[in-house]
């Protein structure tokens, strides 16, 4: 690892101030992604601002739902009784990601900030517009088996690797951030961005902004009885998704009264399927309905040389996830 300086912070204002002092400073939370990236030479910080001393670990009920502190670990969230009871989709998604050891270290805020697992991003000998803007996209005409189906650009076809994010976006979570210019809220769906011509920017945070918490709205409680998170990967555990689907249904008898649907492993951001959700509302929960919904979800899909299999895998995964969720 390249040498870097280290500062410990115990309050958000101080952490933000420390970060703003240097152009190549990074917040350090669990470290599971950042330290890996530093070892690989993908990220070369001059300073790490350790925020683990900030009081942001709480998980508590609020008047509008549930607030999860940004420093709550993935395990603490996934195993929390309130999450298991009220937002089981999030528990399922988190436990589908990484390994128990990593989930014990990784935080909610850090999970949101994790970088893509695109091999061209990790390999510093390769071109990558995300790592080194203007150097080109190695994946575009390269080995792009893991890559995007939706919302990509000629500058970047990488995907967001998180499972947690897929459930968060389906649950309409809201991100609370604090920065040099004060606090603001960001809808989870607007937190991550599409690559466009600036793939180096994974999200809409401004420099110095720190994730404080993520709020799950009470409205998502309607979807806590019929849920499934289906993750398809090269081995049965501890691997990144080729395709994943978060499905949550509100049902009366055999009729779907509301649906939440999102996909992972297919875009630069967790991919919410609004059109398919709208189609599902009021329909019978049966195979024909699910197939039609999957067809709607796949309408704008575009594959590359090596990920064409995802054009079949993704709609099948949607059908399977909806079938399991509705059972």
């Amino acid at each position: 690892m390249n040498p870097f300086q280290y500062t410990r912070s115990f309050a958000a204002a101080g952490a933000i101030q420390s970060l703003m002092k240097e152009p190549h400073a990074y917040f350090l939370a669990g470290g599971t992604n950042l330290i890996d990236l530093i070892k690989m030479g993908v990220v070369t910080p001059e300073r790490l601002v350790d925020i683990n001393g900030l009081p942001l670990k709480g998980i508590e009920k609020t008047s509008t739902g549930l607030r999860i502190g940004a420093l709550a670990t993935n395990s603490e969230v996934a195993d929390h009784p309130l999450l298991l009871r009220d937002y089981p989709l999030l528990s399922l998604a988190i436990n589908a990601g990484a390994s128990p050891q990593l989930r014990n270290m990784a935080t909610v805020g850090g999970n949101m900030m994790q970088r893509t697992r695109c091999n061209y991003f990790f390999d510093t000998a390769m071109p990558c517009n995300k790592r080194s803007p203007g150097s080109g996209c190695g994946a575009l005409a390269g080995y792009n088996r893991m890559h995007a189906l939706f919302g990509a650009s000629d500058h970047c076809i990488a995907v967001n690797p998180s499972d947690m994010n897929v459930a968060m976006v389906a649950l309409d979570a809201v991100v609370q951030v604090k920065g040099p210019r004060g606090e603001r809220k960001i809808k989870f769906e607007d937190f991550h961005r599409l690559p466009g011509d600036r793939p180096e920017k994974d999200n809409t945070l401004e420099r110095g902004e720190l994730i404080m918490s993520v709020d799950l709205p009470a409205a998502a409680l309607a979807f806590n009885r019929h849920v499934h998170y289906l993750k398809i990967r090269d081995r049965s555990s501890y691997a990144f998704a080729l395709v994943s689907v978060a499905a949550a249904l509100d049902m009366e008898g055999g009729t779907i009264t509301g649906a939440r649907l999102a996909m992972g492993g297919v875009a630069h951001k967790p991919w919410r399927l609004h059109a398919a959700e709208a189609f599902l509302k009021g329909k019978p929960a049966d195979l024909a309905t699910f197939r039609q919904a999957a067809g709607i979800a796949m309408q704008d899909a575009k594959a590359y040389q090596y990920n064409k299999f995802k054009l079949t895998m993704a709609p099948n995964a949607i059908v399977q996830a909806l079938t399991t969720a509705s059972a």
Binding site: P3, Q5, Y6, G14, A15, S75, P100
Partner: protein
């Protein structure tokens, strides 16, 4: 942080004391010989402050297997390297060094983590348990006994990590079925393929606990 002194300033450069000491103690040339890219560039540009900062060391106080240690390390030293290189506790293994294999698994405040992805300085005030801390004198931990009995290893390189994970697994209560054991042991890779015997060892310790 497990404990923050009442008088701890809100924001502190934890290493600010050692900057000049380092320059006094070290020869610039020998340092450059050992040092890559940015630091050399900083030195060429006579950014003395930056150059000094890059080498600064921080004292971290932590308890390892019940013994208190105070070790001074660069911020880039991982917990795994601190255990192996500074405390000579080489039971925790460096496999991939990237959080993909689990050979470095240790317990921090009772929770299993990958020590290769934790900086030593992040563990101030923490209690660490390594494979060396499991046995009670000459009496092996039941999980160690079970791994031997069921032949839960071949080459042995992943074994300390497997055992540390398995001990945590029991505590987490993730031993309800073979499938659950496999899923929650998935962070520990065994390239010899001793998985079925590892599962048997875990199941035996679990049944003996009932």
């Amino acid at each position: 942080m497990s404990k923050i002194p009442d008088d701890f300033p809100e924001e502190e450069d934890v290493f600010s004391g050692s900057r000049r000491d380092f320059l006094k103690q070290s020869s610039l040339l020998s340092a450059i010989a050992l040092t890559p890219g940015p630091v050399i560039k900083a030195a060429e540009n006579k950014w003395d402050e930056k150059f000094a900062d890059a080498f600064e060391k921080i004292t971290v106080n932590l308890e390892v297997n019940g013994v208190a240690h105070s070790v001074t390390v660069e911020p880039r030293v991982t917990l795994l390297d601190l255990l192996r290189e500074h405390l000579d506790l080489t039971g925790s293994k460096k496999g991939c060094d990237r959080g993909q294999c689990g050979a470095c698994t240790v317990h921090v405040n009772g929770v299993r983590i990958n020590s290769c992805l934790s900086l030593a300085v992040m563990n101030e005030g923490k209690k660490i348990t390594t494979i060396e801390g499991l046995a009670d004198g000459d009496r092996l931990h039941p999980m160690q006994e079970a791994f031997i009995k069921h032949d839960g290893f071949q080459c042995g390189y992943c074994t300390s990590g497997q055992i540390m994970s398995a001990v945590a697994l029991l505590k987490e209560g993730r031993t309800q079925s073979r499938e659950q054991i496999s899923e929650f042991m998935s962070g520990n890779i065994c390239r010899c393929g001793a998985y079925s015997n590892i599962v048997k060892a875990i199941q035996e310790v679990k049944s003996n606990q009932l």
